[in-house]
């Protein structure tokens, strides 16, 4: 791992840990200045800027929040048109114990903004679904997890937990292991909301309307989703989705573990591209600690991210085609995917979910075969991609199934908060790797693939091209070679000292003990960091109170708004269309339900 000799006793002279001190982001000054510009533009007395944050942050009175959201959305200069995230946070010692946090994104200016509404336990917040359609489910989630009521919400019921659940799980006074059994006859009944455009007077010639349930155990639901549709003949006139069948309490579990222990949980969010989640989480914590992983670690992170992105798209394309009856592609594509997985296995020992990253670098160095193995993959993968593309993309039967199926318009996609391939399939060239480069993506030569139309075919196009672009990045990364040096930061408050030093040096032994017992302790504050996952922007919002446990970990699941819009996308189409469209959205239940 390093060049340390057995009895070297070089004391650590770097910065001391900064826990219990406020976290001051490096970009705080720039963000404060930008925040002042934004607050000058919207000019509301109910908005107070909170300085010293990593995003322009405002405290907003709860009664003014809709007005402010609308102002930010409509302002010709700002154009915060995309709802990125909405979540709660609980501070029981405060007079107004809850924070409701809104994060918006402006595609035009490529910037993010954070709004906070503070509410007491008996207060409610007006619903923002009138401004952002995508906030419908987010508000339900906040209600489910914190019990904050959103006035005027059209459908405020539990979303992640089941209907017999008592209490609100993410409140600090909720016992993490307190379960409530669903003893009723199982699955709740849902009446699908029928889009008003399709509600007609039922005449003699109409078919009888039928309600059909798909899932949660259904071959085409890829995990555990439930869709209830109302059919008029064969046409879908209403659809409603139910989620939460894989709610594994990621956020509550994070609060009960130390910072390093959270990493395996992040693997299991989007389990098809596990490494990317690791990168997002580790980089958020590193941002708070003010450290940067060594170059070698960053290079490996980037390469594995791109490999896992390809693997994610392979699973999406393969299984989507299986749903449409094209089994060959699945067999054919899974062979190279297996080799991608085995590359991760050589690095970490685990196959699908390697948990290979650590805060501050990597768990261990890559094997000496890493570059040769990667080069072999980069050489062989294009053939598989080309073969499958040639098999399906000009296939008449396939085109009939995907052209114009599951369409979402650009405006709707942004208004729901789409990111990733599904957004790029509507013609918006937003990719976090380009917009806010990390891991040195800006130094590589690659393009963001964009397709027009927003239908299933466009999503296929984008995914195929993204795999090629990932291969382009990978080839450049291989050509550059792995930078020499360690894979873990040289900071004993973050990285465990090497074993031989632990056994031979008093100081290292103490550091080892301190780190095992007290963990990493970031300074007090909050940070948000985002990476481009297989499905879009994976963002982590972490609140630290200076102890070894994160106070709050919020993950922004890119699937969440995408699946929320699914019901709208299939209106007016048939069940087979819905199946084809569902597969192309690549809904990963682990990420959706976190």
């Amino acid at each position: 791992m390093s060049t340390l000799t057995k009895f070297s006793a070089i004391p650590y002279t770097g910065p001391a840990p900064t826990n219990r001190q406020p976290y001051i982001p490096v970009e705080a000054e720039r963000m404060d200045a930008r925040g002042q510009e934004i607050s000058a533009r919207i000019a509301r007395p109910a908005v107070v800027q909170e300085t010293g944050q990593d995003l322009p942050t405002f405290l907003v009175e709860k009664d003014a929040i809709i007005d402010v959201l609308r102002a930010l959305h409509d302002d010709a200069e700002l154009q915060f048109t995309m709802p990125l995230d909405l979540f709660g946070a609980d501070y029981p010692n405060r007079e107004k114990r809850f924070d409701v946090v809104y994060q918006l994104y402006s595609v035009k200016n490529n910037e993010r903004v954070r709004l906070k509404v503070r509410v007491a336990e008996d207060e409610s917040v007006p619903t923002s679904t009138g401004v952002f359609q995508g906030y419908d489910w987010y508000e339900r989630e906040v209600w489910d997890m914190y019990g904050i009521v959103f006035d005027g919400h059209p459908n405020l019921r539990r979303i992640l937990t089941h209907e017999m659940f008592q209490g609100h799980a993410l409140r600090k006074d909720y016992d993490p292991a307190q379960r409530w059994l669903l003893t009723d006859r199982g699955v709740s009944t849902i009446t699908p909301k029928i889009d008003p455009r399709y509600v007609q007077e039922e005449s003699e010639s109409d078919f009888e309307r039928v309600t059909l349930n798909l899932g949660p155990s259904h071959p085409a639901t890829h995990g555990t989703l439930r869709i209830v549709v109302t059919l008029d003949g064969e046409t879908i006139v209403g659809a409603e989705q139910e989620i939460g069948y894989l709610h594994r309490c990621f956020e509550k579990m994070s609060e009960t573990h130390t910072y390093q222990q959270v990493i395996p949980y992040t693997d299991r969010l989007n389990y098809c591209s596990a490494v990317i989640n690791n990168v997002g989480y580790c980089m958020t914590v590193e941002k708070m600690l003010g450290i940067t992983a060594p170059e070698r670690a960053q290079h490996v992170r980037l390469m594995l991210s791109e490999f896992y992105r390809i693997s994610d798209h392979i699973v999406c394309i393969g299984t989507n085609l299986v749903d449409m009856g094209a089994l060959t592609n699945f067999w054919w594509l899974f062979q190279p995917r297996e080799e991608i997985i085995s590359l991760a296995e050589t690095c970490s020992g685990a196959r699908l979910l390697p948990s290979y990253l650590r805060v501050g670098g990597l768990a261990v160095d890559v094997p000496s075969t890493f570059l040769a193995h990667s080069q072999h993959l980069v050489r062989t993968l294009p053939k598989f991609i080309d073969d499958v593309e040639a098999l399906v993309m000009k296939n008449r039967i396939f085109r009939d199934r995907v052209d114009g199926v599951g369409v979402i318009s650009r405006e709707d996609a942004i208004n729901y908060g789409f990111t990733g391939p599904c957004l790029r399939a509507t013609g918006v060239p937003f990719d976090v790797r380009k917009a806010n480069p990390y891991l040195g993506y800006e130094t590589y030569d690659w393009d963001v693939p964009v397709a027009e139309g927003g239908d299933t075919y466009a999503r296929f196009l984008v995914r195929f091209e993204e795999m090629r672009q990932s291969l382009r990045i990978l080839q450049q990364a291989i050509d550059r070679g792995l930078p020499p040096g360690p894979v873990m930061v040289d900071n004993p408050y973050v990285a465990l000292p090497p074993k031989e030093k632990v056994y031979n040096e008093m100081e290292s032994l103490i550091y080892h003990f301190k780190l095992i017992m007290h963990g990493i302790q970031p300074p007090v504050g909050e940070a948000y960091f985002q990476v481009e996952g297989g499905n879009g922007e994976v963002g982590f919002y972490i609140v630290s109170d200076g102890t070894k446990h994160p106070y709050r970990v919020r993950v922004r699941p890119p699937c969440f708004p995408i699946f929320e819009a699914f019901g709208k996308m299939i209106i007016g189409q048939t069940i087979p269309d819905a199946i084809a469209a569902l597969g192309s959205l690549n809904i990963i239940a682990g990420e959706l339900d976190h």
Binding site: L160, A177, G186, G244, Y245, R248, V315, F334, E338, R351
Partner: protein, 193 residues
């Protein structure tokens, strides 16, 4: 075209039936040419019943029809096991059925949370006997590292389990090993329910 109905005549010629207990009993499985031959000296019904069990168990063990109750990460590893590289078809368990009516092996691949637990039970109940259950991975076995407010702490709270597979997620070889072990168990006739 009018179809005339033939009375008392079948297309397939039938042999006249023998009353039970009169003729020597034969096993359900007959070898080619054996049907015309009288089986001598094998008259004991108990002997034939045992033999039949073995034959049936052998057939069951070699043609498991799995129903993947895949919820999470393990389902992806299950897909790996089914697909080209690991190819479970080598062991006769590749006929994946998503309908519980057509399956006899339920592979619970992934975390089972309280919300889906009644669904799991319902699907298990819908499977015809004999049926077997493999709990794939740490979550299905014990809740794994999700010791949490919404996660079932092991599916044996809900359904009986024949095989537990360790791992998070288990490798495809691990799952394959469990299927082979289950096959052995079925062939030994150990599973009675």
């Amino acid at each position: 075209m009018p179809v005339s109905k033939v009375e008392n005549e079948s297309i397939i010629a039938r042999k006249p039936g023998v009353a039970p207990g009169e003729g020597p009993e034969k096993g359900l499985i007959t070898l080619p040419g054996e049907s015309d031959r009288e089986v001598e000296g094998l008259g004991g019904a108990s002997y034939i019943t045992t033999k039949l069990d073995q034959v049936v168990n052998w057939a069951r063990g070699n043609s498991l029809w799995p129903l993947p109750f895949g919820t999470a990460c393990c389902a992806i590893e299950f897909m790996s096991m089914v697909s080209s590289h690991y190819d479970i078809a080598r062991f006769g368990a590749e006929v994946v059925r998503f309908s519980p009516r057509q399956a006899d092996l339920m592979i619970v691949a992934g975390t089972i949370v309280d919300k889906i637990a009644p669904v799991l039970k319902k699907i298990y109940d819908q499977m015809p006997e004999p049926k077997y259950v493999i709990a794939m991975g740490a979550c299905a076995t014990s809740g794994g590292f999700y010791r949490a407010y919404h996660v079932v702490q092991g599916i044996d709270e809900i359904v009986p389990v024949d095989m537990w597979v360790p791992g998070c997620p288990p490798t495809p070889d691990g799952l394959m090993y469990a299927i082979l072990k289950l096959k052995e168990k079925i062939e030994r006739g150990e599973i009675r329910r």
